[in-house]
Amino acid sequence: MTTGTTGEPIMSARAVRKSFGPTQALDGADLDLHPGQVVAVMGPSGSGKSTLLHCMAGIILPDDGSVTYQGRELSTMDDSARSALRRNEFGFVFQFGQLVPELTCVENVALPLRLAGMGRKPAEAKATDQLARLEVDDVAEKRPGDVSGGQGQRVAVARSLVTTPKVIFADEPTGALDSLNGERVMRLLVDAAKATSASVVLVTHEPRVAAYSDYEVVVRDGKTRAAVGAA
């Protein structure tokens, strides 16, 4: 078993603090993400898991502490640089509702490629490939409203993978799914990530989902706890 403590981390968070008004959502969180590894961020609801993920992805900036990606401090980048980083290097899967309802599934998956300047035909061809890899190419021409929750999540995973990102951020990706569909999404996500040596930050409170990770970090009351058993 790998504990992921060897080698240089691709990404790390150190003593990250973040508060929303009176709520101290993060109160000193640390996390190292190693290349090609899956880290599970666990903890009770409201403990600050999503906030940690948002800080690491540069969606929000921490009040204090540092988040570095490949040695670069995210807080030194401006908004458009961070947007570009998210667009080009990261992929995202959320619990639900992330697909644009008007676009067909294949168009949804092609969207990041189109934004990166790829033409429509090649982008959609690549998107179709990705959908096939996630075993949902049969719903390519349907709109998100017309597919099942599990299919929709797999389309979302396809979208997060289509740009071959270095890091995939998944916030409760199976939260709205039943066990079977949840397992399926996790298996495909982790397989695809391993295939491209992408790292995954997997926020979940379900141990069975966390079991797909290489190592775990527990957040409680905004603090990460050292993985005692791993030591």
Partner: protein, 776 residues
């Protein structure tokens, strides 16, 4: 029996469901911000509609009151026993570019009639003026007017008895010598039954129809749009209601109850608005007509139709908006494959409109059927715009399949639901089409000389003087600073032996003849004959050389011979110079040729040349005030015809209406944009989180509004110009499209799209914040 009870319970159920809807709309502690916005917008929309409809329902009363007052002001020359006639000579001239009517009056006895609105007859040196004239005379810049009318003002005419409260009117008292003046008529009383239906009324009716549609359609669309605000939230609430056992019909009744609230509130607001705005409209001049608040009485029938119809319409709209929505206990199902919009009936509406307009010439212009055909045609054509647009937008969006991501996002959105944006845009398009039609009509009217008085003689002021004072007036006029030349001419009425109508001889000195007919042969004592240019007809007749004629003048319809005269051998014939407009054809004589005729008994027309400094005419009028009715002047170049002034007013009204309706339409667009952002909060937040630049999202919002708007503008331009063409065909005018005007209106539409997108940006911005991603 059982049938009756079931009917009764179902009626009771109706009432309960409506009541529940009402409680949901107003009551409840959990009423959300968006529900309140929806309620307010619905109320405001319906309020505006009601106020406009009340106003429109008052137009008939306004026109008939106007007509009655007009009839009451017509003088009667029919002798009446026991009445001493009022000798009255009325002359029209101008103040600035407005027409003023001055009546010089002298009572021939103690029992002379009083003109309507006048309390006491002015004596010599006194006058009674209309309120607006009094105001202008009293104003700081009224010095010229005070000199022109030095008489003492002994009272004002009651504005409620004037044909139009805004008219400039003066009754000036003069001495008995006016009785000798040919234009002075003995008036025995005022008031005469008036024939109805003059041209202005027809045009007004047409314009009211077009204007009414142009104003109302956006309001109705606004009302319909406002029911879409917080639509998703309402749908969820209704869904919850289905879960606890309400059936589909009950849900519809509850919806109806909800819209009933804003209808009733809107009705109250509209009535309030109408009552509050009415006094503000008092004395407002529109279409050369002054509005009197007390004439703004909605016809009872139309008011009733409004009061009953508007709430029904609102409920109908709400239910119609839900026809494609199935509220299920667990979710709201929007029938995903909506029926394809059909083209046929939309084309039928437009086709009927065109046919109706084309058929109008079958009837006589101004006839009731003509008006009807034109009105119905214009209405159908304008209604065709909102009917056609949803179809066009749907087909248009279906054709486009890609483009940049921002375009793709917008187009796909339109493919899913094009109805609402198309309807909102249709409101703008109707305004545009109506505006373009009117503007094109105006451009054509302007291009036509008929509506623009001759401006060739722009350098001269015209005057009319009685013969006795003509020489003095000419002398006084020459002394006015700025006047460079004064020429007098006289028309002699002459009759051959036994001739009934006779003809006229124009008397003018050689300088004048030389200038007017570009000849250098004239010597005092000469006579000429002016031949009409080809295509024109001489309504008088030429005199035979040596023909003996009687020179006559007319006083109070009585003919009086002042001399006999022999028409000499004319020296030559003269031709009207090309391009000249003031046409006189026939015999012309120099003063030397009419010696022996007492010219002091024949009134003279003056042509006064000046150096165009401002205020020359005012100075002239002031300098000749002492001649009272004996001298009057007007400046043809400053004189604006009633038609032209009406078109100016129309253009302003059009602009105001367009601004009003466009801003309503803009508000609807904004509501739409906000609603679309709200509905997709999560997707937007997720897109932004995964690095999609805000610019792409903002641009897609703009496209979403711009695509239907572009189609709307195209349809509007086509409809507008088509409508104008059909209109102008009816009145035999060439079509002259006012492209800059069209450009301005279309530009306004584009700006509207940008503005509403801009106003929706903060909402988009807030959606890209992460709250939407939180999963609680």
């Amino acid at each position: 029996m059982s049938k009756r009870t079931s009917r009764r319970t179902s009626l009771g159920q109706w009432g309960r469901d409506l009541g529940l809807g009402i409680r949901l709309a107003v009551g409840g502690s959990r009423i959300s911000g968006t529900s309140i916005v929806r309620l307010i917008m619905g109320t405001v929309g319906i309020g505006l509609a009601v106020a406009i409809l009340f106003g429109a329902a008052s137009v008939g009363n306004m026109l008939s009151a106007h007509e009655q007052r007009n009839a009451a002001n017509i003088p009667s020359w029919q002798p009446r026993p026991g009445v001493d006639p009022l000798l009255m000579s009325t002359a029209s001239s101008t103040i600035g570019d407005e027409r003023i009517s001055v009546s010089w009056i002298h009572p021939s006895g103690p029992n002379a009639p009083l003109p309507p609105g006048v309390e006491r007859l002015p004596g010599k040196g006194e006058m009674v003026v209309s309120p607006r004239l009094a105001e202008m005379r009293a104003a700081a810049d009224g010095e010229a007017l005070r000199q022109r009318f030095p008489q003492r003002e002994i009272g004002q005419i009651d504005k409620y008895q004037m044909t139009d409260a805004g008219d400039l009117l003066a009754y000036v008292g003069v001495d008995a010598t006016i009785g000798a003046e040919s234009s002075a008529m003995p008036v025995y009383g005022f008031g005469r039954p008036e024939m109805s239906g003059n041209e202005t009324a027809i045009l007004l009716t047409l314009l009211s129809i077009v204007g009414g549609i142009v104003l109302l359609v956006p309001v109705l669309i606004f009302v319909a749009t406002s029911t879409r605000i917080a639509g998703a939230e309402r749908d969820r609430r209704l869904s919850a209601m289905r879960l606890v056992g309400a059936d589909a019909r009950q849900v519809r009744r509850i919806t109806a109850g909800e819209s009933l609230v804003s209808s009733v509130a809107g009705l109250a607001l509209g009535t309030g608005l109408f009552l509050v705005l009415r006094p503000l409209l008092d004395n407002v001049r529109l279409f050369d007509t002054t509005i009197l608040a007390r004439d703004l009485q909605p016809s009872p029938l139309l008011a009733l139709i409004t009061v009953v119809g508007v709430p029904l319409l609102a409920i109908g709209t709400a239910l119609f908006g839900m026809r494609r929505v199935v509220i299920e206990p667990l979710s709201v199902v929007r029938k995903s494959k909506p029926v394809k919009r059909r083209l046929a009936w939309r084309l039928v509406v437009v086709g009927l409109g065109v046919a109706s307009l084309l058929s109008a010439p079958v009837f006589d212009e101004g006839e009731e059927m003509w008006t009807f055909a034109v009105g119905v045609g214009a209405t159908l054509l304008l209604i065709g715009v909102p009917a056609l647009l949803p179809w066009l937008v749907e087909r248009g969006a279906a054709r486009v399949s890609g483009g940049r991501p921002s375009v793709q996002l917008a187009i796909r959105r339109l493919q899913v639901d094009s109805g609402t944006p198309a309807r909102v845009v249709a409101g703008v398009a109707v305004v545009l089409a109506g505006g373009i039609a009117l503007q094109t009509g105006l451009a054509a009217a302007e291009a036509d000389d008929k509506y623009r008085p001759a401006r060739a003689a722009q350098e001269t002021i015209s005057g009319q003087v009685t013969g006795a004072v003509a020489d003095q007036v000419v002398a006084d006029a020459r002394a006015v600073p700025g006047v460079t030349d004064v020429r007098a001419g006289r028309y002699l009425s002459v009759k051959g032996a036994g001739e009934k109508s006779g003809t006229s001889v124009y008397v003018m000195d050689c300088a004048g003849i030389a200038q007017r007919y570009q000849t250098d042969q004239c010597v005092d004592g000469d006579a000429f004959t002016v031949v009409p240019p080809p295509g024109s007809r001489n309504y008088g007749r030429d005199l035979r050389p040596g023909e003996q004629v009687r020179v006559v003048k007319y006083a109070r319809d009585k003919e009086e011979q002042i001399a006999t005269w022999t028409w000499p051998q004319p020296k030559s014939t003269l031709a009207q110079p090309p391009g000249s407009r003031s046409g006189y054809f026939g015999p012309v004589a120099t003063p030397g040729a009419v010696r022996g005729i007492p010219l002091s008994e024949v009134s003279a027309t003056l042509e006064i040349a000046h150096d165009k400094r401002p205020g020359v005419i005012s100075a002239l009028q002031a300098a000749t005030a002492k001649y009272e009715w004996r001298a009057s002047f007007y400046d043809p170049s400053s004189y604006v015809s009633k038609d032209e002034r009406m078109y100016t007013t129309l253009r302003n009204a059009l602009l105001a209406g367009a601004v009003f309706t466009l801003s309503l339409a803009g508000l609807s667009l904004l509501v739409l944009a906000l609603e679309q952002v709200r509905e997709r909060r999560r997707a937007i937040a997720a897109l932004f989180a995964s690095g999609v630049p805000r610019g792409v999202l903002s641009r897609s919002l703009v496209w979403q509004l711009a695509v239907p708007m572009a189609l709307g503008v195209v349809v509007a331009i086509a409809t507008g110009i088509g409508l104008a063409w059909l209109f102008l065909r009816l009145v035999d005018e060439p079509v002259a499209v006012d492209w800059p005007g069209v450009g301005v209106l279309s530009g306004a539409a584009v700006i509207l799209v940008l503005l509403s997108a801009l106003a929706a940006l903060p909402a988009l911005r807030s959606a890209t914040r992460l709250d939407a991603l939180r999963t609680e």
